[in-house]
Symmetry: D2
Subunit: 399 residues, 4 copies
Amino acid sequence: MSALPATLLQPPPPPDPLDAVHALAAQLATTAVGRDRHGGHAAHERALIRESGLLALSIPAADGGAGAAWDVTLRAVRILARADSALAHVFGFHHLQLAGIALYGNASQQRDLLRRTAEERLFWGNALNPLDKRTAAIETADGFVIDGIKSFCSGALGSSWLTVSAWHARTASALIGVLPTTTDGITVRGDWDAFGQKQTDSGTVTFDRVLLPSALVLLPPGAPPTAQATLRSQVAQLIMANLYLGIAEGAFAAAREYLADEARPWFASGVAAATDDPFVQHRFGELWTLVRPAEALADDAGRTLQRLFAKGAAVTAQERGELAVAVATAKVLAHRAAIDVGSGLFELTGARSTSAKYGFDRYWRNARVHTLHDPVDYKYRDLGRYALAGTLPEPTAYS
Amino acid sequence: MSALPATLLQPPPPPDPLDAVHALAAQLATTAVGRDRHGGHAAHERALIRESGLLALSIPAADGGAGAAWDVTLRAVRILARADSALAHVFGFHHLQLAGIALYGNASQQRDLLRRTAEERLFWGNALNPLDKRTAAIETADGFVIDGIKSFCSGALGSSWLTVSAWHARTASALIGVLPTTTDGITVRGDWDAFGQKQTDSGTVTFDRVLLPSALVLLPPGAPPTAQATLRSQVAQLIMANLYLGIAEGAFAAAREYLADEARPWFASGVAAATDDPFVQHRFGELWTLVRPAEALADDAGRTLQRLFAKGAAVTAQERGELAVAVATAKVLAHRAAIDVGSGLFELTGARSTSAKYGFDRYWRNARVHTLHDPVDYKYRDLGRYALAGTLPEPTAYS
Amino acid sequence: MSALPATLLQPPPPPDPLDAVHALAAQLATTAVGRDRHGGHAAHERALIRESGLLALSIPAADGGAGAAWDVTLRAVRILARADSALAHVFGFHHLQLAGIALYGNASQQRDLLRRTAEERLFWGNALNPLDKRTAAIETADGFVIDGIKSFCSGALGSSWLTVSAWHARTASALIGVLPTTTDGITVRGDWDAFGQKQTDSGTVTFDRVLLPSALVLLPPGAPPTAQATLRSQVAQLIMANLYLGIAEGAFAAAREYLADEARPWFASGVAAATDDPFVQHRFGELWTLVRPAEALADDAGRTLQRLFAKGAAVTAQERGELAVAVATAKVLAHRAAIDVGSGLFELTGARSTSAKYGFDRYWRNARVHTLHDPVDYKYRDLGRYALAGTLPEPTAYS
Amino acid sequence: MSALPATLLQPPPPPDPLDAVHALAAQLATTAVGRDRHGGHAAHERALIRESGLLALSIPAADGGAGAAWDVTLRAVRILARADSALAHVFGFHHLQLAGIALYGNASQQRDLLRRTAEERLFWGNALNPLDKRTAAIETADGFVIDGIKSFCSGALGSSWLTVSAWHARTASALIGVLPTTTDGITVRGDWDAFGQKQTDSGTVTFDRVLLPSALVLLPPGAPPTAQATLRSQVAQLIMANLYLGIAEGAFAAAREYLADEARPWFASGVAAATDDPFVQHRFGELWTLVRPAEALADDAGRTLQRLFAKGAAVTAQERGELAVAVATAKVLAHRAAIDVGSGLFELTGARSTSAKYGFDRYWRNARVHTLHDPVDYKYRDLGRYALAGTLPEPTAYS
C-alpha cells in the first residue's frame, strides 16, 4: 500500500499492541478477497488471531492481558476491518464478551474467566440475540436448564466459550451466563448465509436441555440493570461503529490505490491521469468529508467509553446516556461513510474495477449486511429526542 | 407478486408484444437468484428469449418483425430487467445492433440482415467497444482484414452475428461492420468476471486475420457522422437507462413484497407491522420519488427517440442534440434510482433480508456494474453545459 | 432574457392565453425585486392582473371565461411565479376559489358566480384555513351567522369576494360559503409579515356577526364529502407545486443569466469564463436534474387533474386517490427543486451575487415560506403508504 | 434559553474570557433580529464589543492582552455568531488583523501595534481583498504611495486601524501594511448591501494618494511567503468555519426552542406535541449529525492552529499543509451545517415560524452570504487531491 494521507489511515505513532494488529491485518489482507468469495468458517485465520495474542488485548494486565484501553481495542477492530471486516467482527465480539464479564460478572467470575482467557487463548462467541426469545431458562436446584434456539450468534462456530442469554418466563426477563461451547446439548450450526460478512460465523445455536450452573450466571433473571451493566450495549455499538469505519477506510484506500495504479482517465476528460480529473478529485474530497468526521467522533466516543468503563459501578445514568449519544452519533456517521464510500468509490474507479479479481464490491456488501444490526432510523430518532429535549436514549441492547 | 401501485410497475393495458415480455420475465425470474450467484453463460435462458420471438420485436413488420416502436422495445428491456438485468442487457443490446443496421446500413443491408434476423431468430452480439483500439482494420481488395482484440463485448458469447468495430489507421477513424460469429478467426472468450451483470457474456473477442467483405461494412472508415447515424449512441444510452430503471423497479417491488410478507417491526417501533412504521413509510416514499420521475422521463425520451428514428435521414443535429439531453436526464435519474433503491431498500427490510436465499444484493451489484458504462459526472457536465448555454452534447459513442 | 434551453423554460408554442400570461409576467418582473423588499399590498400589480383578463382564464367559455384547461391555468401560475411568486399565488388562489365554486356549488351558484367573475373581473380571496377553527357558524332562519377570526387568508386583502369556512359545532364539521369582501362585519387585516411571499396578502380576516345567506353556502355543514368535492385540495396542492416550480425555474434562469453576464471565474479555476468551470457545469447539471423531472411530473398531474375535473360527479375515489399520489409526487419534487435551486444557485454565482440589487435571495425566501403550507414529511409518508400497499391518501384539505 | 444538550451548545466549563463572550453574546442577541432587518453600521454594538475588553482577547499577556489561545478566540467567534454572525465577523476579523501583525510583522511592529491595540482598545478592519487588484503601491523614498479602490473591506467602517494590501507592479506581487483609518486620503464607504451579514461593514475603501511609511509595512512586495506567514489564511478560514458553525448552532437552538415553546403538532400526526412527532425527531437527529461533527473538527483544527502559531518561524510547510487540510475539512462541514440547518429548520418549525418577528431566515441569509467567501468546490478539490496523493493545498489567500 502506497503512502496514505496521514490523518486518514495512519494512526498516531502506535503503541506496541497496534503493531501486532497491523501485522495481523496484513496477514488477513492477503486472502481476504478469496475468502469473501467463498465464505465459510475461517479456521486458519481464527488461528492466526489466536496466535497473535490479541485475544488478550482488552484484558487487564493484572489478569494476564495487554491491558489496552477501550479506545485502543476499538482502534484494533477498525484496523482489522480495513482488511477483513468479517474477522474484525469476530475479533471485536470476542472482546465484547470480555466486556460483558467485566460489566456483569462478580469479582471471582471476572478474575477466573479473564485469566483463563488470557492463559488459554480462549476465543469467545455469543448466543445472545435479545430479540430472539426462543431460548428459555428454567430454574433448577443449582442453576438453570437452557432449552431452545438462538439466531445471529456471531463467532459461536469455532469458539471456546459462549455468552448465552435465555428468556426466563417467571420474571419476564432474560438471564445472561457463560458456557464452554463444548457443553453437552449445545450445537453450533454453520448456517449463516448472508451476502456479506460471510465469515462471521453468525449462524444458529441450539440448546438441548443444557445445564447452566449458578457459578456461570453473570446476570440473573430479574436483576435490575445498572448504568454500569448497560454500558455493554455501548461497547457493542462502538465496536460496530469502528467496524463500519474500518470498512469505509478500507474502501477509501482501495479506491485511492486503484486510481493511482490502474485507472485510466475518461476519454472526454482531457487529462493525462484519472487522478487529475477534476470530477474525480471533487468526489474523492466529498468521500473524505464522510470518513474523516466519523473517525474523529468514533475516537472521541472511544475515549469516553474507556473513562466510564474505568469508573466501574460509579458511572451514572447521565454519563451513560451522554456516552450513548456520542456513540450513536459516531455510529450513524460511520454507517453512512461505509455505505456511501463502499458504493460511491466505483463512480471514481470505473467499469474495469468491477472485475471479481479486485473484490471491491465486498466493502458495500459487508457494510450493507452489518449496518442492519439495528435500524439507523431509530438512532436518528434517539439523537433527535436528545437534541430536542435532552432526553437520554433508553438503555436497551441497542441503545 | 401481489398487486402493485398502478403507476409504478403496471404499464398501461399492454399491447400484445408486452404480454410476451411479461411471460418471458416471469420465466427468467424463477431462476434469476441462482443464476446470479453462479454466473456463466445462460444458454438455456438465451434459448427462451429466442423462442419468445422477441428478438424480432423492433424489426419492421415489412421485414418480418413485430414492428414495435422504440418506446415499446425499451419498455420490454425495462420489464425484463426487473427480473433479470443481465439477460435484459443481452436482449437490449441485440436490439441495439439492429438499430445500428437501420441507422448505418444501406437499404440492401437493412433488408437482408433484418429479414434474416427475423426468419432465423438470429441473436446479435457486439465487439464494438470504441475505447478499446487494439483491433485494427487494413484494407484489402474486397474489404478489410480485422486483427486484434476487443474487451467488454456484451452478448458476443452465444451470438449468431456480431457488430464489430476496428481502428483504421490511415483515416484515424473506426469502421463498423457485421460478421457471423462463426467467421474464421473470431474467438469469443468467456472471460467476463464482474461482480454484477454476470450473465451478460461481456468478455473478450479476438480477431485473427478475419476477412470483412465490403458488403458487410455498415460504416466505412472516415465516413462523416450524420445526425441519423449518431442516434445510435442515444439508443444505447436509453437501453441502459431503461435497464437501470428495471433494476430500480425490481428492487422496489422486492422490498415491498418482503415488507408485506416477511419483515418484522422493530421492537422499539410500537407498531404491529413493519409497514406501519412511520420511518419505513417515509423512506419508501423517498424511494418512490426516485423511481417515479425516472420512469416518466425515460418514457418521454423513448417516445422522442421513436419519433426521430422514424424521421430517418431527415433528423437534424438540433433534434438529435435535444434528444441527447432528454436521454442524459433520464439516464442520470435512472442511475441514481437503481443505486439508491438497490442499496437503500435494506434500511427498510433489515438484517434478515440479507440472507443469500433472497438474492436482494443483486440489484445493487447489477446496477453498480452497469452504471459504470460511462461516468455519470460527464452526464452532469453535459446537462450543465446545455442548461448554461444551450450547448448540445457532442455526439460520441457515449453522448 | 437570453435564449434558454428549450425544454426547461420555454413551453411548447403557446396558445393565446399564455401569451397574455407571459406579457403579465414581464410586467411584474420589472418591479419584483423592489416589491419583494418592501412587501405590503400590491394594489397596482393586482390591477394589472385584473386588466390582463386572466382572472377569467379557468372560467368556462359558456360562462364568459377563456375556458382554459387546468393544465393551462397551472402553467400560467408557474410562468407568473418565475417572475413574482407572491402575485402568482394570489392569481392561483383566485382560480382555486373558482374551482371550489365549480366543485362544491350547485348549477345556479356556478353560473351566477362564475359569470359575474368574468363580467366584473372579480378578484377572489379566501378565509378558509381549515386548521384554524376560531370562526364559528350558527344557523339562522335563512342561513348562518359567522363569527370569529381566520389566519393565513391569502388574497383576502384587495379581493372582491371571499370563500369562507366556519366551524359548525352541532355537526362537528365546517361549512363553506362565499361572501363579498365588503359584507358588513368582515374586516381584512394587512398583518401578514412572513419573510417571503410578502405580497400574498395572507393576513387575518375577522367576522363580526356576519350574515351568510343560504344561497351563498356552497357546502353545508355535515355534507358528506364526495370524490368530486375533494378534488379541490388537489387543485390547491397542484397550484402550489406549480408555484414552487416557477420559483425553481426563475432561480435557475437567474443563475444562468448571471453566470453568462456577470460572474467571474474563480482565480484557481484556470478557465476564462465562469461557465467553463467544470464544477460550475457539474453543479448546474445537478440542478437541472432537480427542475426537469418536477416539470414533467407537474405537467402530467395537471393533465390528469383536467381529465378528472371534467368528469364532474362521475369521478371515483380511486381516480381521485391516484391523482393525489401524482400530485404529491410532483409537489415533493417541486418543493425540493425550489429550495435546492434557490439556495444552491449561490454556490455557482458567488459572493458578488448576494448584493441586494439582484434580489436573488427572494427565490429561497419565497420557496421557504410557501413550501411550509403543509409538511413535506407527511407527503413522503402518504407516498410510502401508497407504494407499500396501494393505500390512497386520505382526502383532507391537504391530501 | 432553556437547557440545551450538553455537547452541542455548552462548552466545557469556560475559562474567564468566555464568560465575557457569553455576556456580550447575550447583549447582542436582544437586538439582533431588528438590526438584521435594517442593516447599516452597528456603532452601538461595536462600542459594546470594545467595552467588553474582548478586542484584546488574542493579544499576548506580555503585550497587555488576555493571552487566549487561538482555539479559545475561535470559540469566542462561534459563540458570538450564534447570536449575531455579522458582529461576530467584525470581531473575528479584528483578531485576524492581529494575527497578521504577529505572523508578518517584525518584533517592533508586533510589540507596538499589539500593545497599542490593547491599551487603546483599537478596533481593526481590513482593506485586503487579494482578488481586487485595483489598488496600486508605488515606491517612494520612505515607503509607498497607495492609490485605488478595494471592495469587500469587512470591518473597515468604524475601525481605528486597517490592514491594507496593494498591488506592486514591478514585483508583480502585493504588499501588506497597516494604517490608521483616519489617514489622509482614505475613504471608507458604507456601500455594503448584501442580503445577509448586513452589519459587517464590508463595503469599499478608496485610497487617494495615501502615504504608507516603511515602518508600517508588514510584508514588503516580493517577500517570499514563509510557512509561518501563510498561516494567516488558515486563521481566516478557521474564523469563517467557526462563524458558520455559530450560525448552525444558533439556528439549531432557535428551532429547538420554537419547537418546545410555540410549535403545534401537525393535525395528521396523532401526537400531542410537535416534539413527539417521529418525523420531527428524525429530522432533528439528522441536523444534529451535521452540527456535531463540524464542532468536533473545528475544535481539533483550532487546537492545531494554536500549536503551529506558537511555533512561530519553526512551523514547516508540511505542518502548515496538514493544518490547511484539517481546516478545509472543518470549513466544508461547517458550511454545509450552516446552510442545511438554516434552511432545513423550517421543515420542523412550520409555517407560523416564518413571521418576520422571529427573524429565523437570518440564519440562512447570513450563512448564504458568508459561505461564498471562496467556493466550496475548490475545497472539495483540495481535499480530494490530498486524499488521492497526499498533495498539500497550495498556500493562497484562501487555502
